[in-house]
Amino acid sequence: MDSATFASVGAGLVTIGAGIGIGKLAAAALESMARQPEIAGQIRLAMIIAAGLIEGVAFFCAVICFKALGG
């Protein structure tokens, strides 16, 4: 039970969080694009921005797991 084990488990949890978040985002975006195809461009833009921000949070913890893996 050294830090490498915990770091790997932590990285998996981070992936679950990011996957759920971006999955919900994509579902909402696709549904609204289907309801109103005229503004699909704006929705696509907002989706990309939100995905970038959610991934940013996920990467925070990925970096911490990386550090725990080495030390």
Partner: protein
């Protein structure tokens, strides 16, 4: 991570040699070029990107054409996108126009550094946390000192102390507000470096499979590395755009704290 093989191939060392900063520049089919002590590989990449942008915008971009064509057209479409969709959206008309040079510089610089990482001769400078820390620090200084220069300390007080809040919440809120000023810049730095580092590590691990699992996996590994490289091109543009957009948003949060 994946251990050493009988052919003494270490995946850690392979990744380290390709992504970390070094004093030598390895060109294909040539002996490695020793860099002088005041330069390192990523610093050289930053200088190359700066020179390339200067050549691109000062000499290749012809301002005197009435109708833009060719590379002028391409660059203008990017700059108009930055001015209209990013700067004026977040900051309003006149301040948006004033901040557009800064935001356009950040966008093209980060985009250039990200794309240079995908060309085999160069290496990714934005995968180095020091480079992205410098970029985030520049944005931090712009939104802190810009708002101080704009209205002085009374204006900055409005950033930290929101209006109409009872005093007993202010005790917790003021340190939190000051902390978020730093956390925003920190998030910018980590987002960019982690995206660039992760993409390149995945490509290098997939290519390392060729040695670790045997030469039978060469063709699928090469194809997978190719597709991940294509995804990396998209991520390069996206991360440059997200950095610029978030810089504009953070600048608008400290320049116009009322909304």
């Amino acid at each position: 991570m994946l251990g050493t093989q009988t052919s003494t191939f270490s995946i850690d060392e392979y990744i380290q040699n390709h992504l970390a900063n070094a004093q030598e520049w390895h060109l294909p089919f040539l002996p490695p070029i020793q860099l002088p002590s005041f330069l390192s590989l990523h610093a050289l990449m930053v200088i190359f990107c700066a020179i390339f942008l200067i050549v691109l915008f000062c000499f290749l971009y012809r301002k005197k054409d009435r109708v833009p064509r060719g590379i002028t057209n391409l660059l203008e479409s990017f700059i108009l996108f930055i001015r209209d969709e990013i700067a004026i959206e977040c900051l309003g008309k006149e301040e948006g126009r004033k901040m557009t040079p800064f935001l356009a510089t950040m966008f093209f610089f980060i985009l250039g550094l990200n794309l240079m990482g995908l060309i085999p001769i160069f290496s990714t400078a934005t995968a180095n946390i020091n480079v992205t820390a410098a970029l985030a620090l520049i944005t931090f200084c712009v939104y802190i000192f810009g708002s101080l220069l704009k209205g002085g300390l009374p204006h900055f007080k409005k950033v930290i102390i929101p209006e109409g809040v009872p005093w007993w919440i202010l005790v917790i809120l003021i340190p939190l507000e000051i902390l978020t000023l730093f956390i925003r810049a920190f998030a910018l730095m980590i987002r960019l470096v982690a995206n660039m580092l992760a993409g390149h590590i995945v490509i290098l691990v997939v290519l390392g499979f060729v040695v670790i699992l045997g030469y039978i996996v060469t063709l699928p590994a090469i194809f997978m590395a190719l597709f991940i490289s294509l995804l990396e091109v998209f991520v390069a543009f996206l991360q440059a755009y997200v950095f610029t957009l978030l810089s504009a948003i953070f600048i608008s949060l400290t320049f116009n704290p009322e909304h």
